[in-house]
């Protein structure tokens, strides 16, 4: 027969409860703030560490870092304009290819594919993003580059040579190949986010247009795409950010020439591939700090691009919790 009273049982439970979480509510919030603080400190630390390491170069090279095309470690002259241009060219090629294809894929996945195939196919497209970039680089170098050199680039040169952008000897590796490989790598980003944004458009809007007699394409072009416009723009900008920061695959296929290419068949260098190539070797004066300065430049650009893009995407997809917005 139990001799404990109800109040004794209650206080025992209370004590047990208190022992199990020694944190009171304010303590808990405080702990979370500390955790958040650590996170914030990490972000700041990255910025500060890079700025500190890059400072000697910023002082020595000055604005020449981004206005000069001459990258000459032997004579301690560091101008990264060719790399900035290289980044822009490869990203542009990648976007020209990936945005239409990605959007088409997204529309297909959201609308024009049988319902039960929707998830498996979406997973397949996203698997493209799971392939390590080093595998893409190696495949691009060993399989795609010879095909470019032997078939695609000569054809482009003969068919479109009058445009003046396909001059030079086709050797396979170069900015065009880098752009194409980048397009393949950012396609999943573009497709997945656009698809999520399109799916988030309320069904009644689509069905309403259908009821008014719109063809299935007209529903998409007239109703869905205009509503999803800023989300899709966000997806595109996010994909652009990914393309700018991609390092390993680009290093292996871009040709590593520190000058601005004169044609799409030419070779070049991006900011990321420059760093990957020269970092472990940089012993000349200001070489290492100049490379880190280029890294800082890349960080700032991609931060602006990515941060802005995600703001755009979030404002569209905020309503759907649990949506896999990369």
């Amino acid at each position: 027969m139990s001799t404990t009273t109800a109040t004794e049982k209650t206080s025992r439970i209370e004590r047990a409860g208190r022992l199990q979480s020694r944190l009171s509510d304010p303590g808990y919030r405080w702990l979370l703030l500390v955790v958040a603080g650590v996170f914030g400190a990490l972000l700041l630390a990255i910025l500060i560490a890079l700025v500190l390491q890059a400072r000697p170069a910023l002082v020595h090279d000055g604005l020449g870092l981004i206005t000069s095309t001459r990258w000459d470690p032997v004579h301690a002259h560091y101008g990264a304009l060719s790399m900035v241009v290289g980044t822009l060219i490869t990203t542009a090629i990648a976007l020209v290819l990936a945005v239409p294809l990605g959007l088409g894929t997204a529309v297909a996945l959201a609308t024009y594919v049988p319902r039960r195939l929707r998830t498996p196919l979406s997973v397949l497209v996203e698997l493209l993003a799971a392939v390590p970039s080093v595998v893409f680089g190696l495949w691009g170098l060993l399989v795609v580059a010879p095909w470019f050199a032997g078939s695609l680039e000569p054809w482009l040169k003969s068919a479109f040579g009058f445009l003046g952008i396909f001059n030079g000897t086709p050797i396979g590796i170069g900015v065009l190949l880098a752009g194409v490989i980048l397009a393949i790598m950012i396609l999943p980003t573009m497709a997945a986010i656009s698809r999520d944004v399109i799916i988030a458009i309320p069904r009644d809007q689509r069905e309403g247009a259908s009821a008014l007699g719109a063809t299935s394409w007209q529903v998409v072009s007239g109703v869905v795409l205009p509503s999803a416009r800023s989300g899709i723009l966000g997806a595109g900008v996010l994909a652009a950010g990914r393309a700018m920061g991609e390092t390993i695959a680009v290093t292996m296929v871009i040709g590593n020439t520190d000058s601005i290419p004169h044609s799409l068949l030419g070779q070049g260098q991006t900011m990321a591939s420059l760093i990957a190539n020269e970092f472990t070797e940089a012993t000349e004066p200001f070489h290492l700090s100049s490379l880190i300065a280029v890294g800082l430049l890349l960080l700032v650009i991609s931060a602006l691009v990515n941060g802005g893009a995600r703001l755009m995407v979030r404002s569209i997809a905020r309503s759907a919790p649990g949506v896999g917005v990369l």
Partner: protein, 315 residues
């Protein structure tokens, strides 16, 4: 252009009956005529557009199939018991393997997860409960972090852990990978925790638990599948990264369990040996690439399957 038999009104043309100049009816007839004539064009456009969209989907899958096929073709011949259990041998000496790289990847990624998951889940918990200014800044910061090129993160890991500890180390590599994993884990945790129905949390609080207790014993377990998805996807992303390891763990020919020293890793084998002239080194590189893809795919698909299960059960 006009085709009287396509009158969608489905009836007689009223013009003749009531008078040829009724403006509404004639306008209606005009609209019907225009619509009829454009119907073919609209249908054709739609067919073409749908075809192009489906073709884009196919085009998107072509590179995936091509890369996989090539990797399987070149990598499968490298797989053998020796491949998974032996250390690498110099070029020309048969019987080598990548056991040190497999162990190295497991160790490095384990420590990366150890660093990223508690911090990521903690920040996710914080973000799920507040919408204030601090939370906004942190969310923006996580998005920025997600976009930082992996090479820049490699430089950061080098500056923080290699220079200060005075030698290359696997832990510096883990640190770099942890930074890369962090945004994925944070985002997934926040979304998963937000997804836990409010009544569950409120029930826990009503039973007298402190917030910390409720969080630990009620909310996190309920959010676990979503959090796990984030962790799996984060590890999948980190496992395939090469750039952060280039100036941190740098690789080794031996098996090492010491995280304060250089360590071999699978992406490094693919990067360094893939372009070597010696055929057996190339074969090893492709075998490693295939193994890496298998690991990353399993983690990614597993994460997605888990997340769709959660979505279905939560509704």
């Amino acid at each position: 252009m006009s085709s009287p038999s396509l009158d969608p009104g489905g009836g007689r043309d009223f013009e003749g009956s009531f008078g040829a100049s009724d403006p509404i009816l004639s306008r209606r007839a005009e609209v019907q005529r225009t619509a009829a004539s454009q119907l073919v064009r609209r249908k054709v456009t739609s067919r073409v557009a749908v075809f192009l969209c489906r073709a884009s989907l196919v085009a998107a899958l072509v590179p995936l199939v091509a890369v996989l096929a090539y990797t399987i073709r070149r990598g499968v011949s490298a797989w053998s018991v020796a491949f998974f259990t032996h250390l690498p041998t110099p070029a020309g000496i048969a019987g080598g393997g990548v056991s040190n790289a497999i162990i190295g990847t497991l160790i490095i990624d384990f420590f990366a997860a150890l660093m990223a998951v508690p911090l990521g889940v903690g920040v996710g918990l914080f973000l799920s409960q507040s919408n204030g200014k601090v939370a906004y800044v942190l969310r923006f910061g996580a998005d920025v972090l997600a976009g930082i090129p992996s090479i820049v993160i490699g430089i950061f890991a080098y500056a923080v852990l290699v220079v200060t500890l005075k030698h290359f180390s696997a832990i510096a590599g883990s640190f770099g990978l942890a930074v890369i994993m962090l945004p994925t884990v944070t985002r997934a945790s926040e979304v998963a925790i937000r997804g836990v129905p409010r009544d569950v949390t409120e029930a826990g609080l009503a039973l007298g638990g402190h917030r910390a207790h409720v969080a630990r014993r009620v909310v996190l377990p309920a959010a676990l599948p979503g959090v796990l998805t984030g962790v799996l996807l984060g590890i999948a992303r980190a496992a395939g990264e090469t750039a952060p390891l280039l100036f941190t763990a740098i690789g080794s020919q031996f098996t090492s369990y010491n995280v304060l020293h250089p360590m071999a890793a699978m992406p490094l084998i693919v990067y360094f040996d893939g372009i070597q002239a010696y055929p057996d080194l190339q074969k090893a590189a492709w075998g490693t690439a295939l193994a890496l893809i298998v690991i990353v795919f399993v983690l990614s698909v597993g994460g997605r399957v888990l997340s769709s299960r959660v979505r279905r059960s939560v509704g």
